[in-house]
């Protein structure tokens, strides 16, 4: 069995086990959080994006341990396997969604393509934020935080978003370097 389909099967099994939350409640909670950040930043879009990414980062460094403890995922030998575990198992376990994983060549970056985005339910960005606010940048922070705990230093960008009129959400992950020991210096400050 390929790593891709076993990762997906594992994700399915984990999703069946974890406690569920109502999707609307989840979306509204995140919406309220975003609005809080928006009002705290006086509408400074860069600051909003940065804050949301940071929130995601904190979630990421916490949830990676939970994920590894529960998932029993096999040891990943290369970034492609990591990408599959992340996209097929982790996203399924935490969000219940299926996403496609696309590996680029050379294999130092990959894309996660989300056909269904639970965070952006009901959301319609007003014109003044449409092109600048990255509403679901939380994912980027989560991925960055989680992979950083595993010694991968990555950079995440949202390159497609349904809120801007694309037909899918796409998160691109670029591997910058592999850390030698422990977590990054960001983590020490936390």
């Amino acid at each position: 069995m390929s790593s891709k389909s076993s990762a997906a099967a594992n994700g399915q099994a984990l999703w069946a086990k974890v406690p569920k939350a109502n999707a609307e409640l989840f979306a509204l909670t995140y919406g309220a959080l975003v609005m809080e950040v928006v009002s705290d930043s006086d509408g400074n879009v860069d600051e909003i994006n940065e804050q949301l990414e940071k929130i995601g980062y904190s979630i990421g460094i916490r949830s990676v341990d939970e994920f590894l403890a529960k998932s029993n995922s096999p040891y990943c030998k290369n970034l492609e396997e990591t990408a599959n575990v992340l996209g097929k198992t982790a996203f399924k376990m935490f969000l219940g969604i299926n996403c496609d994983v696309q590996i680029y060549n050379p294999p130092t970056s990959f894309s996660l393509i989300l056909h269904d985005n639970p965070l952006s339910l009901f959301v319609e960005l007003p014109d003044n934020y449409k092109d600048t606010l990255q509403y679901t940048i939380l994912y980027c922070g989560v991925i960055r935080g989680a992979l950083e705990m595993l010694n991968y230093k990555v950079e995440c960008t949202l390159i497609k978003s349904t809120l801007r009129g694309d037909d899918v959400d796409e998160i691109k992950v670029d591997l910058k370097n592999i850390l030698q020991d422990g977590a990054g210096e960001d983590y020490q400050e936390e």
């Binding site: 919406g31 959301v123 319609e124 014109d127």
Partner: protein
């Protein structure tokens, strides 16, 4: 004056109108006589007192026709949050209007779930406008 082909749909909040749409028959849109339009707005807004009176007369959100001026009727729907939907028409069947209001109500609920929309503020969403017009066009 012939029966006015224009439907006028308004959403009114606590203090101010939140949304307005004039829906004309396809093909003759843009041909609205401004004095007629102005009169329509006048009729709808002046029915607001009657809406307040009708509010407690029924348990339903749909208050049916609350006002009638010449050949024009004002039907009303009241949401649970006390937002008023008013539709000016020239005698459509109650059921058609009820369906229209229900569909618009659904759109309104969807809109109010959007974190960027604050309760009782003017509705600027283009998407909402488009959807309401689509629903309304079936009525004309």
């Amino acid at each position: 004056m012939a029966a006015n082909p224009v439907l006028l749909f308004l959403i009114v909040g606590k203090n101010e109108p939140l949304y307005e749409a004039e829906i004309t028959k396809r093909g003759i849109s843009g041909n609205t006589d401004t004095s007629v339009a102005r009169q329509s707005y006048f009729v709808v807004h002046s029915s607001l007192d009657l809406v307040d009176r009708a509010t407690w007369s029924s348990q339903n959100m749909y208050l049916k026709v609350v006002d009638k001026v010449n050949q024009q009727y004002v039907s009303t729907f009241l949401t649970a949050g006390n937002i008023k939907f008013l539709l000016l028409h020239s005698g459509k069947s109650e059921d058609t209007i009820k369906i229209f209001f229900q569909e618009v109500h659904e759109l309104y609920v969807q809109l109010s779930m959007n974190p960027f929309y604050r309760y009782d503020t003017p509705i600027t969403s283009k998407e909402f406008d488009k959807r309401v017009r689509n629903v309304a066009r079936r009525l004309v």
